[in-house]
């Protein structure tokens, strides 16, 4: 079945409610959750928030399925919901951070800075502490790059995971030409993080 036809069929199931809704949302989830999880994981820098956001997207799909009229593809609509959800998440984080910063949480945290130290564990590559290989260097370089520039790291992840520039363009909400240019910029950016690794590679 054509992707778009399948999506429209699924959203009709979701609209129908009850058992059909269960079926429709299951198909959509199995189809899109993986890409959404990757997107949010890169954007948030941690998996638990990413999972919550993926769930939030599908809850919103169910809640607002009646408003979907098919003016855009379901995929675009779903990704729009995903981007909006992430914007809400960032806003919420900022508010929470401000809240905690101005209100000390305990006696030992009189300045209210403890929460900054106890951030959720972010994605980090496990390195061999005893032996720092060239591969470790590249892994660390990419991990730091992902923290510093999650959007570009996400684009590179899509590239490595077999998506062509047209599909990547869809995910990034850009034209294909702009996406190719963006990937070139990604190269320049990540080179800075990989500079020591390249020196190691040259001496090997």
């Amino acid at each position: 079945m054509n992707d778009e036809i399948e999506d429209n069929f699924c959203i009709e199931l979701v609209k129908a409610g009850n058992k059909k809704r269960d079926q429709g949302i299951s198909i959509l989830y199995r189809k899109y959750a993986k890409d959404l999880r990757r997107f949010f994981s890169y954007k948030c820098g941690n998996i638990s928030d990413a999972d919550d956001l993926v769930q939030e997207v599908f809850i919103k799909v169910v809640r607002s399925c009646e408003t979907y009229r098919g003016d855009s593809t379901l995929k675009s609509w779903l990704w729009q919901i995903a981007r909006n959800s992430f914007t809400d998440y960032v806003r919420h984080k900022k508010i929470n951070a401000t809240d905690q910063a101005i209100r000390p949480t305990s006696d030992s945290d009189e300045d209210g800075w403890e929460f900054l130290e106890n951030k959720e564990p972010s994605l980090q590559v496990n390195y061999h502490e005893t032996k720092d290989t060239i591969q470790d260097c590249f892994s660390r370089g990419y991990s730091n790059f992902a923290k510093s520039d999650p959007d570009r790291a996400y684009a590179l992840s899509l590239l490595v995971n077999g998506y062509d520039s047209k599909k990547i363009a869809g995910f990034l909400n850009r034209t294909e030409g702009a996406t190719r240019e963006y990937l070139s910029q990604c190269r320049k950016k990540i080179e800075e993080f990989l500079l020591p690794c390249k020196e190691l590679l040259a001496t090997e």
């Binding site: 409610g17 009850n18 058992k19 809704r21 269960d22 949302i25 299951s26 989830y29 199995r30 959750a33 993986k34 999880r37 990757r38 994981s41 998996i47 990413a50 999972d51 993926v54 769930q55 599908f58 809850i59 169910v62 809640r63 994605l123 590559v125 060239i134 591969q135 590249f138 892994s139 370089g141 990419y142 991990s143 992902a146 790291a153 590179l156 992840s157 590239l159 490595v160 995971n161 077999g162 998506y163 062509d164 520039s165 190719r180 240019e181 990937l183 070139s184 190269r187 990540i190 990989l194 690794c197 390249k198 590679l201 040259a202």
Partner: protein
């Protein structure tokens, strides 16, 4: 403006062209590719993780009343229908089995199984010898005339009937025609 070198880098990273791992560009993109793969592995995008996420989503949808409980009940209902049918079927089977068991348990208690009425009565018992002894003992008490033969696995007891003997055999639930002067009881061992 995109350089050709960039396009080659993109193609190598996306494995659109074969990586010979010879040039600096090839070697570094290979390492970077592995680094990205390793990072992505931590995201756990496996089908199992996705399925777990789906179960959590369904639970939340139910909790928030976005998929009605009826939808799940209907699944349960279908399941229950089958469960009830299976239970009835099994119950019926057990009743039948119990019936057969009772029948067989009668044999164990030396109850008689009649396969013939009239002159010949076949009795299937667990212990033919004990049964014969019991009958013979009673016949001796009644001073009845009888003879015992053995033919293969069968004990054949031929009894001359008089009133007392007839009454005794009837008390043992044997149906004997009033006109018969003799009766042959074939005692067989149950299998």
């Amino acid at each position: 403006m995109q350089k050709n070198d960039d396009q080659e880098w993109i193609n190598l990273l996306g494995e659109k062209i074969a990586n010979q791992n010879k040039t600096d560009l090839e070697m570094s993109t290979k390492k970077l590719r592995q680094a990205i793969k390793g990072y992505d592995d931590q995201l756990n995008l496996s089908p199992e993780a996705i399925e777990l996420g789906l179960q959590k989503l369904k639970f939340r949808l139910r909790k928030e009343g976005l998929t009605s409980r009826f939808s799940n009940l209907s699944i349960d209902f279908e399941f229950k229908q089958w469960a009830v049918a299976a239970s009835l079927f099994m119950g019926l089977g057990m009743l039948l089995q119990a019936g057969l068991d009772n029948q067989f348990s009668n044999i164990g208690q030396e109850e008689m199984i009649y396969r013939g009425v009239g002159k010949e009565v076949i009795q299937i018992v667990n212990n033919p010898r004990a049964y014969l002894d019991e009958i013979v003992s009673n016949l001796n008490d009644l001073s009845s005339n009888y003879s015992v033969k053995r033919l293969n696995d069968e004990i054949i007891l031929e009894i001359t009937l008089d009133e007392k003997t007839r009454s005794f055999l009837q008390s043992k639930r044997m149906e004997i025609n009033q006109q018969e002067k003799t009766v042959i009881i074939k005692i067989q061992k149950s299998k």
